[in-house]
Every structure is written in structure tokens, then in C-alpha cells.
Amino acid sequence: MVDVAVVGAGIVGAACALACARRGLSVVVLERGGLVAGTTGSGEGNLLVSDKPPGPELDLALLSLRLWREWAPELGDIELEAKGGLIVTRSDAALPALSAAARAQAVAGVLAEELDAAAVREREPAIAPDVVGGVYYPQDMQVQPARAAAAMLAAARDLGARVLLRTPAVAVRPDGVDTPTSSVTARWVVNAAGAWAGSLGTALPVAPRRGFVMVTEPVGRLIRHKVYSAEYLDNVASDAASMQTSTVVEGTPAGTVLIGATRELVGFDPALSHDAVGALARGAIALFPALAGVRAIRVYRGYRPFAPDHLPVIGPDPGMPSLLHAHGHEGAGIGLAPATGHLIAQSIVGETPDLDLTPFDPARFLTATPTPLP
């Protein structure tokens, strides 16, 4: 008998496990694959406010950024870097919209600095000459997501949590979960299974949204911030199943450049898409022409846990109050993980959550007009 069984050892499950263990709860984590085997190991490690309009997700992100800073010292070397984000555009027509978005975000507590072409170039000397302006977001950070998740799990283990790898949860009961070979009795079950979460508890419309990321050879400090094009915002908010590409380019402490991001609703299809690779390369060169001669050394794909209304799913299962959902963060799961874990732990111990959880309530999918799965 444990207090909490967390299903999924990705970043969200790890954060839930750590937040619960810190409150003295006994925790067991069940993971269907290996350590960082799922989406967490395929992410870029974005901790962003820049891509979120005012609303519940931005509130969650601001809480999470605060928690990242609080948690980081205990987690050791997780490559947390307050590098700042830079949204740029090559279209004069897009500038007013960027500027309006930044002003609205500022009201919600986001630091945003509008830049003209010269100011963009000052921050990113290698940027393409046709970039006409952008917005700088100093709060955006980056983390090495795999190390962050593993460090959270290790910290939870130090507090007595158990982590069972290659142990899938096949069924959830009011008093625990079943694995193929045994059952775990638990007061609470947390479904943090990410893109695989839809099948545990009440069926929820969470689906995998595939993305490819490319990694280049080390190039030193060619790219200083997380730089992305303004179309990224439209693509994140899109529901289209076909592939969308908007370029996100950033340097890492290892010297490599990460190039994202494609978004496709194609199920769990592991095949390497040469379309995606081509689109990523074209987008990256358009933002940073010097990348044309830089070589890609790796490409990998991951599956974002996509919820049709683009909001995380956090809160009790409509049919089983002892089951708490913590998924549906799509591409923002790394950034939103500490806040999610914190709010789940608060719910379990009966504290008033620091944020109103109503917008994230899993029951919203049952009351609203059903959204067809793609």
C-alpha cells in the first residue's frame, strides 16, 4: 500500500513523484518503457512563456518557471539556462500582431521587449538579413529535459519513492493499478502517461502529435537565444492533422544547435520523414543563413500529448475521483512539469491549489461538444 502510484516516468510523472515525496507521501512510479524512453527524451527542453497568450496555460507557465528556479539547485547539473527567447519575423505586416501579443502578455506578467531589425541583430548577429523585427522574452529558459526528469526521479528516490521501469499499468482501480504481473495498491493514482494517457481511466481525447528535431554538429556560440519565427504561434494553436513546420532554432551548452519543430497528427508512426527533415533544414537556413554549411548529425522524433483544446489535463477523473490526470501538455510538458507536479501534490494533500484548476478539469471533455479525434 502506497499513498500515490504515478503512471509514467517522463518529466510530468517525475515532477508529480518528487512533489508528492517532498510532502511525505509514499510514492511508486510505474513506467512502461525505460528511463526517459518517451517524449521527455525527445524534447528540446523549452521552458517558455513567449509562446503562450494570456490565459490559464500562461498562468501555469509562470508558476512553473518560478518552481524551475526553486527546484534547480537541488537537481544538480540539468543545464538550466536563462537564455531568453526571441520571436522574429521577416514580414512587416506581421509586426503589429507580434507587438499586440507582447503587450497583452505583459499585462499578464510576462517580460517582453519589442525589437527593431537592428536590435534583433544585436542579440543574434547571425540572423538572416531580411528579418525586420521581433520580440525578446528574457524569462524563456531551456533545460536538458532527460537529465531534469532523471534528476527529479533520483531526488524522489532519495525521499523513499520507488521507480519501476518496464512496468506498464494495464488497468486502474479505485484502490490502485494493475501491471501485467501484479497490482499496486494505492490511495491515489496519477495518470502522467503523456501521449499514452488516453487509455487509462475515463477515455480522454489525448492523442500523439508527432514532431521531429534535428541536431547539428557543435558550432560554438552561433545562436544565443531560442529563436523562432512568428508562424510558430499559429502552428502550436492549429488543429490540422497535416504537417506544419515552423522553425525553432537554439544553441545548447554542448555547442550543438537544435532545430525544431514539426507537428503532425499521424499516430505513433516512428518512420523518419524526409519531408520533415527538409522543411526543418529550409526553415533553419532561412533564419540563420550560416547554418547552410553546418552539418546535421542526428534527427529524432517524439510524440507530444495533444489535447484538442490545447490545454493540459490536470485534475480528478470524472468517473474515479482517486485517479488524477496530469497530461495533455503537448509541446510544453517540460516547461509545465514542476507546476503540474506541485498542483497534483497540493490536490492530494488537500491544500488549496496555487492556481484554479477548473480550466484544466478532465471533465471538460465530457460536457463540451465532443471533439472528434483525428
Binding site: V36, A37, A146, A150, A154, D275, G278, R295, A296, V299
Partner: protein, 461 residues
């Protein structure tokens, strides 16, 4: 300053002021070749034999090879009847100075995608080095790298050189070094000659090999049963600690090789089944009697199916080339059987000798001391990787790579993969899946401008 390590384009540390991989030619221009029936990857002994075999059966063959000229590592810069035959053949086109950078379903070469009806992978291998303290110092190179520099450019890696590791290849390297004026202090050979006594049939069956070995040996001291266990900077040069006598030897360069690692990433990318070769622990492609992999139309020859040397690769390549022609319907079952009969006998004989070599020169799989650099590209020591394995509970290769960065750099685990597997096994008590270290969707680094030409229709824009 130019540094040098592998000498054959796989370590990405053979770097000059401009670029890593000074050890291979600069990327050649556009790929110009006809649409082939058969693509052979690699123009070493195995690939050339395959090309001749397939073309001789009527196939239009394109050979893709990274070298400036056909021949591979073994026939490098030498005039050889096999090279001349292949170059003179009207149905063989060479695409030199290019590599296949991705496979599946087609083969990506430069800005082209080749979609042949059969593929022969004769991708060879590269020197395996078991890490030791100091193996990352300038002046420590692979045995093959030293030979490539000597045979390819006529340059000795140093004036006073130690050649160390295990296997008869070290003798050939010592000979190449002496030919370009280096003083080879000794060949430090981990094995003992007496191990040969257990394999008399192999010796009797391949007298030519013995003559070859004797020719290499002339004038070179061989210290059997000894190992280089550390190298340090010393004055302007280096000094190497030779165990078990623990004496320091002053040199300019140390050339190291512990057998070979097969290059199998293209086969893995195409979905071919693999296995661990029990003779030396290498991950190799599983093939049948006709060199067919588990994927129809993908034939594999040479080191990629199990390390065995050039002579064996030639026999396997000849069979693979004929099997490729058979796969696309140019020859029938009977013709295949007849044409391959003598090659099969040769293959069996050379395989026996290769097996004996593996038994006499066993590949060590030791985990080096904690202070040793494990991953050269990312500068991760054995100790740091071990600490992360313990702290995070790492028990598989994917987590090892993501959490420690071991194998995540330019060489993508080519240099460190085998030792990383040994470390993981030592710490977890379980045998990790080695294929994870051979999965490289980009078989080689590829410029973004090349990738940018990939369009939305599975071809190029």
C-alpha cells in the same frame, strides 16, 4: 595544427583548421551516375568483388565510396588487378568521394536518391580501440589511422613509434610505418604466440598468411603478452606505460588497435537483422549462405557480417554480387549455385583462418579506470558516466546516451559505443541491447543545405 586519430573518416577528430575529417577527401561535387540496378556501398576488396560479380551477370552497377580512389583501406593506393578489372568494366560506375548518408527506402548520396533493385553493403569497419588513460592525447592514433597516413600520404605519424593492441594487423602497420621512415620501437601485442599452437589447421591451411606475417615481422621487435596501459605527455612527445613490467617507453606516437568494429549503420537503417558475433563481441549483420540479409535485396559482405579480413571479404563480395544479380532476375538458381561454388569453398577456408585469428587474438572488453575519457567527442570520463549510471539508475543505451551524452557527439558512438556497453553491463549486471548504438538515421553528418533540398514527395526539390 592537424590532429589525427582514425584516419578513415569515422572518428571526426582527424581535424584540421577548417574541418573535422581531414582524413577523407573533401565532399565531391554533384553525384553523376546512371540509374543503377545494383548499388554497392564501399569500394574495398568486398565491394569491388561484388561489383564485378553483379556487373559480370549483366547488372548496371554503381559503386559509392568515400575514398578519392577505389580500393578501400586494404588496397589503398595500390595497383591491384581487382581495382583494374572493376574500373575497366563498362557496366560499373564509380561515385568516389561520397558516402551514403541515409538509407531507407532509397539510398541518399549527396543530393541524389538512388533506388536500386538490390544493394550490396560492403561498408567494412574501422579500428577498435579499448580506451586507456591518455588515449585522447595528440599523438595517440589508431593503427589503421597511422597506416592510412603512411600509405596514403607517405607521412610517418612520428619518428619513434610504439604500435600496440592485438592482432596481426599491427605487424602490417609497423611495416608501413618503417617504409616511410619511422622507427618502430616495438609492437606491443597482448596475445602470446603460443596461442597459435591450438590452431594448427588454420596455420597449415593458409601458408600464404604466414609468409605475409613473417615478411612484416622482419626487423620489428614484438613484445608478446604485454599492453600499453597509459600514455602521458613527456617533454615534447609522449611516454607509454607498458604492463605488466610497468616500464615507461618514450615515443612521439602510439598507434593502437584491438581488432575492428564493423560499420553496420546502413544495414540497421534498412532494417536488417543483426547479431553479436561471439568471436569478438562485435555487432554484425545476419546473413545467409548467399550473403543475403533479412531484408530482400539487401546483401552484405565483408567485415559488416563478421570481422575476417580482406581475403574473406573478397569471397563474400563475389557471392553477394552474384546474389544481387540473382535477386533482380539476371541469373537463375542454378547459375547462382554454379557461379558461387568456388567462392563458397574459398570463403569456408578463409573463414577458418579468420576464426583462428579471433581465437588467438581475443578482443578485450575491459572497462578502463574512472579517470579515462570514455566518449572523446563529448569529453565524458568513465567515472562521470559511471556516477550517472548509479545516480539515475540508467539501465539501457538510450538513457545512457541522453543522460550522460556518451555517444551523442560527432562520431555518434562509433569510438566509444563498445566500451560504453561494457560499462553498462558491468554496472547493471545485464547485457544491454547493442543495436541502440548502431542506429544512426544520418549515417554520416550531412550539411543542412543538402537536407534543404528534400521535398515533400519523397524525392528532392
Amino acid at each position: 595544427m592537424v590532429s589525427w586519430f582514425c584516419g578513415m573518416g569515422v572518428c571526426f577528430a582527424c581535424a584540421g583548421p577548417q574541418s573535422p575529417r581531414t582524413c577523407v577527401p573533401a565532399p565531391a561535387g554533384p553525384v553523376e551516375c546512371p540509374e543503377p540496378d545494383v548499388v554497392v556501398v564501399g569500394a574495398g576488396p568486398g565491394g569491388l568483388s561484388a561489383a564485378v560479380g553483379a556487373a559480370g551477370s549483366g547488372a548496371a552497377v554503381v559503386v559509392v565510396d568515400l575514398g578519392a580512389r577505389p580500393g578501400g583501406q586494404y588496397l589503398r593506393a595500390a595497383r591491384h588487378p581487382l581495382i583494374e578489372r572493376a574500373e575497366a568494366h563498362p557496366r560499373i560506375t564509380f561515385v568516389q568521394g561520397h558516402e551514403v548518408w541515409a538509407a531507407g527506402p532509397g539510398l541518399r548520396v549527396g543530393d541524389r536518391e538512388l533506388r536500386p533493385r538490390a544493394v550490396v553493403l560492403a561498408t567494412g569497419g574501422y579500428d577498435r580501440v579499448v580506451p586507456f588513460p591518455g588515449w585522447d592525447l595528440p599523438g595517440v592514433v589508431t593503427a589503421g589511422g597511422a597506416q592510412a597516413l603512411a600509405k596514403g600520404q607517405g607521412v610517418p605519424i612520428g619518428r619513434r613509434v610504439l604500435v600496440a593492441g592485438t592482432g596481426p594487423f599491427l605487424l602490417a602497420v609497423a611495416a608501413s610505418l618503417r617504409e616511410v621512415g619511422a622507427e618502430v620501437v616495438a609492437v606491443v601485442e597482448a596475445s602470446r604466440l603460443s596461442r597459435w599452437l591450438r590452431h594448427p589447421r588454420a596455420v597449415v591451411g593458409s601458408p600464404g598468411r604466414l609468409v605475409e606475417a613473417a615478411r612484416y615481422l622482419r626487423g620489428t621487435a614484438v613484445w608478446h603478452g604485454q599492453r600499453v596501459t597509459a600514455v602521458e605527455r613527456y617533454g615534447d612527445g609522449l611516454r607509454a606505460l607498458v604492463s605488466p613490467k610497468d616500464r615507461w617507453v618514450e615515443v612521439d606516437a602510439v598507434c593502437v588497435g584491438h581488432g575492428f568494429t564493423p560499420s553496420i549503420e546502413l544495414a540497421v537503417a534498412l532494417g536488417c537483422d543483426t547479431r553479436v558475433d561471439p568471436r569478438d563481441g562485435s555487432l554484425v549483420v545476419t546473413v545467409d549462405d548467399a550473403q543475403r540479409s533479412s531484408v530482400p535485396g539487401v546483401l552484405v559482405a565483408g567485415e559488416a557480417t563478421g570481422v575476417g579480413g580482406a581475403a574473406l571479404a573478397m569471397a563474400e563480395g563475389a557471392i553477394a554480387g552474384l546474389a544481387a544479380a540473382h535477386h533482380i532476375g539476371l541469373i537463375d538458381d542454378r547459375a547462382l549455385a554454379a557461379a558461387t561454388a568456388s567462392h563458397r569453398r574459398t570463403r569456408a577456408r578463409r573463414l577458418r583462418f579468420a576464426n583462428a585469428l579471433h581465437a588467438v587474438y581475443p578482443a578485450p572488453d575491459a572497462v578502463p579506470p574512472d579517470g579515462t575519457v570514455l566518449c572523446r567527442c563529448e569529453r565524458v570520463t568513465v567515472g562521470r558516466a559511471r556516477a550517472d549510471i548509479v545516480r539515475y539508475g540508467i539501465d539501457d543505451v538510450r538513457a545512457l546516451k541522453l543522460l550522460t551524452r556518451v555517444g551523442m557527439g560527432m562520431c555518434q558512438g562509433r569510438m566509444c559505443g563498445r566500451t560504453a556497453l561494457a560499462l553498462l553491463r558491468a554496472e547493471t549486471g545485464q547485457v544491454p541491447d547493442p543495436v541502440a548504438f548502431a542506429r544512426r538515421p544520418f549515417a554520416f553528418p550531412v550539411p543542412l543545405r543538402t537536407l534543404a533540398s528534400l521535398d515533400g514527395k519523397g524525392g528532392h526539390a
